[in-house]
């Protein structure tokens, strides 16, 4: 097991800057997600760590060891490929046994060597020794694939192939587990159950894991910490709650969950709170503005909504419901306030009626949940 440190990593493909000074410090045993839109450099980062790409500049450490000059096959990073990259000519058992066979090749005499090669080419050619048999079966039991040991990988479902890929990587007892969008080829339902499976295995084994995804929900629900990437840069790194409650840019606010974002300017202080002038009303925020001109970020679920005559307290804004939409267990309102359309999410409670379009409503926001960026 080991930590992973990436320092000033730069990768250039003739002229194209794929990575632009990436810095990461991943703790031992951590489940770390690299999140970002397609083309932002997630795969490239991962391939640099695995040793398939030579960094243009920068250093990579696994544990205490600098690995820049260590070839890919000696880095002991288990990788789960997006396409799974299973060996089509081998069955499930021999796929999982591959790394064990490689180790066998390194330590034994010529007779065993030939037998091992034979097994790796075609399982009918030679039998596996008992210790490999035992270990592979243990892993297969663990990922619930034992009954499929003799199947070719092409005869498995997507979810099963995914588990073979995972089992194959785990069999080598890697220092780090690298997963590149491992769930993107699965349907939605399977994806949710695989999330749980992967997270459970990771916690069980305590293995340092780097997980690449473009799906914020996946990253936020699984990872201990998340690095959000954009155009070859890590633009924010933190726990899911940190990212969610304290996004450092509108891009992140938008990417990690939908937000209301308005332009405004700070016109004064009210104790610890900044007063921000928007078009037609003011709003207060506890966050500290960097400039006078700011972007105000409010998450839809942090806004309370009530009918005109009901309740509220400070910072009440008046508006009119334009539309209401059911999003599963929540109701999303689009509320018109002056020139703005504000998204508001409330949990749907059966029995409670939904405000119809045209209804006059009042909105309240806790100043602690108004972010100024």
């Amino acid at each position: 097991m080991g930590s992973v440190t990436v320092k000033n990593l730069i990768k250039q493909y003739d002229g194209v800057m794929a990575l632009n000074n990436v810095n990461l410090e991943i703790q031992e045993g951590e489940f770390f997600a690299l999140l970002g839109p397609s083309g932002c450099g997630k795969t490239t980062t991962m391939r640099c760590i695995a040793g398939f790409e030579k960094p243009t500049n920068g250093e990579i450490f696994i544990g205490k060891q600098k690995v820049n000059d260590i070839p890919a096959n000696k880095r002991n990073c288990g990788m789960v490929f997006q396409s799974y990259a299973l060996f089509p000519h081998l069955d499930v058992f021999q796929n999982v046994a591959y790394s064990l066979n490689i180790k066998e090749l390194e330590k034994r005499g010529p007779g065993t060597k030939i037998k091992t090669y034979a097994r790796m080419i075609n399982k009918k050619l030679a039998k596996s020794p008992p210790e490999i048999e035992k270990k592979v079966m243990e892993i297969l039991e663990y990922v619930e694939l034992a009954p499929y040991r003799n199947r070719l990988t092409s005869e498995l479902s997507g979810g099963q192939q995914q588990r073979v890929a995972l089992a194959r990587a785990l069999a080598m007892e890697p220092a780090v587990l690298l997963m590149d969008e491992p769930l993107s080829n699965l349907d939605k339902k399977l994806r949710n159950s695989m999330r749980a499976t992967i997270r459970k295995i990771q916690l069980d084994l305590g293995i340092t894991t780097i997980f690449v995804t473009h799906d914020q929900e996946e990253a936020m629900s699984m990872a201990d910490r998340v690095a959000v990437m954009k155009d070859g840069d890590v633009i924010q790194l933190g726990t899911p709650t940190e990212l969610y409650s304290n996004p450092k840019s509108a891009f992140i606010a938008d990417f990690v969950g939908s937000s209301n974002i308005f332009k405004g300017s700070v016109i004064g202080q009210d104790g610890e709170r900044s007063i921000v002038q928007l078009d037609g009303f003011q709003i207060r925020s506890t966050s500290i503005p960097k400039n006078k001109e700011v972007e105000v970020v409010i998450r839809p679920e942090n806004i309370e909504i009530a009918l005109g005559e009901e309740h509220p307290g400070d910072d009440i804004l008046e508006g009119k419901v334009l539309m209401s939409t059911y999003l599963g267990s929540i109701v999303r309102y689009d509320v018109e306030i002056g020139p703005y359309i504000v998204m508001v999410d409330t949990t749907y409670q059966s029995g409670k009626s939904v405000y119809p379009p045209g209804a006059n409503v009042k909105l309240t926001v806790d100043p602690e949940k108004v972010f100024l960026l």
């Binding site: 490929f81 990259a85 060996f87 089509p88 000519h89 591959y98 090669y117 790796m120 080419i121």
Partner: protein
């Protein structure tokens, strides 16, 4: 450091392969071009190591001129040879396309009776070398042929068709080259846009109208491309004319062969070689231009369902017509088969008597030719497997487009031309290889490598790079990954390619006849010499052995490719 070492290993192999092509393909073609303007043989490799030779090469250059090309115009033999060859190829390509039209349409678009059987029988020509086919036509249509016998007893005297004439040669080529056009034409008919045809029919057009004004124009690029392909194949064919061409019919391949094998006229042979390569390359490129722009747009789209025509009258007519074509092929092969068992076959429908003596003769006195063929083909196979595997690795993994191009060049060089170029280049020290089995194997390899490379490149492309990376990620070195992952996955492609190479080498005529030394004479050369000596019955027996051998190999190949699919 490690990176550097790996880089070196790879580029060393790459350099060796490029060197192989330069030495055995580029330099020979280049030096034959020089010979065609200097008029005297030159020694390129000698000039590199020996100053004396270098000087004489320079002297030869000083005397070079385009005189020899001008002499083509004056020396009527060459010009008429070229014109005759072009005429023959034009005739054959047009007739083939016209003849194939109904068959291709029938296979692609109708539910004609016996479609599977007829389709299978249409591949007979692919296993029969043309010189055997030419000989079969003599057995049928020649002066004492059985068709002639029937014709005479019905109609009086004369020949139905004279096999030893332009028409005879064209007929053999038409019947034995048509499969090369048939499959592309079937594809063209399958691909043409069904929605347009339906549109036409919705507008109330009659079937024949739709065929003539919608289906045909859509399939036309495919048809033209097929015609151009046949043109090149016919132009380069040596087996048919060498057996059938009469003294007064000059054809460029035969003329070139005579210049070199009969008169050792280097200048003449060189000029003819250059002309052959230029013509073949021109038509090859023309054909590729034609197929390039037209990708038919259906490959990536949704599969469109084509209407299969079931009209009984139409399908039966097409099937009947296809039967007639196939019947000619079958009769030709049966004629050779009967001849191989004949004691003698004078004038008559059937041989005068039957015997195994011809086969006994082959097995007792010429069995060596069979083993020679097998050994030479195995040599070419091993060499092509090694080269093609590396080439496909470089082409697919490293985008080596120049190498890719170089391996397709042999496609445009007619066998006789390649043979003449190699003989000229390796005639003298320091690289004296002419008359050895080595240069013969190399010639076979170069000629068939494009097919092998196509097969292995296809397989290599289907092996995604991440599978190889997965192996490395799991601890395997590049070499171990190659042995345990890439290797096993390459086997189907290599196997398919090797059998193709093996078969085509056994069938190979031009290079064998031109280059094989007596002690390494393969079957094709032995058959050719038997025919020249008038030993028709042993020639027939050996022909049958050759065809059966090819047939068996083909069956193995089909079985292998099915097993993998």
């Amino acid at each position: 450091m490690k990176m550097l070492k790996r880089f070196d290993g790879h580029s060393l192999i790459k350099a060796l392969i490029v060197l192989f092509f330069i030495v055995f393909l580029v330099v020979p073609l280049f030096s034959i071009l020089i010979v065609s303007i200097t008029g005297v043989p030159i020694n390129v490799f000698g000039s590199l190591v020996d100053p004396e030779t270098f000087k004489s090469t320079i002297d030869a250059f000083k005397n070079s001129s385009l005189e020899f090309y001008k002499s083509i115009a004056s020396k009527s033999g060459y010009l008429s040879a070229l014109m005759n060859s072009l005429e023959l190829s034009l005739l054959v390509s047009v007739v083939v396309v016209v003849m194939c039209l109904p068959i291709a349409y029938g296979i692609a678009r109708t539910k004609m009776p016996f479609k599977k059987t007829l389709t299978a029988l249409c591949t007979i020509p692919l296993i029969v070398p043309t010189f055997i086919a030419a000989n079969a036509f003599i057995v049928m249509f020649g002066r004492s042929g059985w068709v002639t016998y029937i014709y005479e007893s019905l109609r009086g005297n004369g020949l139905l068709i004279n096999p030893s004439s332009m028409i005879g040669i064209a007929m053999v080529q038409v019947f034995f080259f048509f499969p090369y056009a048939l499959w592309p034409m079937v594809a063209a008919f399958k691909l043409s846009d069904i929605t347009l045809e339906e549109g036409s029919q919705n507008l109330g057009a009659k079937n024949w109208f739709t065929f003539a004004f919608v289906t045909m124009p859509l399939a036309l690029p495919g048809l033209i491309s097929s015609a151009l392909l046949i043109f090149t194949v016919s132009f380069s064919d040596f087996g048919t004319p060498i057996i059938l061409a009469p003294k007064d019919l000059n054809l460029i391949v035969v003329e070139a062969y005579r210049e070199i094998a009969g008169f050792f006229n280097w200048a003449g042979a060189a000029i003819l070689t250059v002309i052959m390569v230029v013509v073949a390359a021109f038509f090859f490129c023309l054909q590729h231009l034609f197929t390039k722009g037209k990708s038919y747009g259906t490959v990536s789209g949704k599969p469109k369902k084509q209407k299969i025509i079931k009209n009984k009258w139409l399908t039966r007519t097409i099937a009947g017509y296809t039967c007639l074509v196939v019947l000619v092929l079958l009769l030709a092969m049966i004629s050779v088969l009967l001849q191989s068992f004949a004691t003698t076959w004078g004038v008559g429908v059937l041989p005068d008597g039957y015997t195994m003596a011809n086969y006994q003769a082959v097995f007792s006195s010429s069995f060596e030719n069979v083993t020679n063929s097998l050994i030479l083909a195995s040599g070419a196979l091993v060499l092509s497997v090694v080269i093609a595997t590396f080439v496909s690795y470089f082409v697919v993994r490293q985008n080596a487009s120049k190498l890719d191009f170089m391996t397709t060049v042999p496609l445009v060089v007619p066998g006789i031309a390649l043979g003449i170029a190699l003989i000229q280049t390796f005639n003298t020290a320091p690289l004296q290889l002419t008359g050895t089995a080595t240069i013969l194997i190399i010639a076979y390899t170069i000629r068939r490598l494009p097919y092998m490379v196509r097969s292995t490149v296809g397989t290599m492309r289907s092996i995604k790079q991440d599978i190889e990376e997965a192996a490395v990620n799991l601890g395997a070195s590049r070499l171990t990954a190659a042995i345990t992952v890439v290797g096993p996955l390459m086997i189907p492609g290599i196997a398919a390619g090797s059998i193709l190479v093996f078969i085509t080498v056994i069938k190979e005529t031009s290079v064998s006849i031109l280059m094989a030394p007596a002690e390494w004479a393969p079957m094709s050369l032995a058959i050719f010499q038997n025919i020249l000596r008038g030993e028709y019955y042993t020639a027939a027996a050996m022909s049958i052995i050759l065809v059966v051998l090819v047939l068996v190999l083909q069956a193995i190949a089909t079985k292998l490719s099915k097993g993998d699919a």
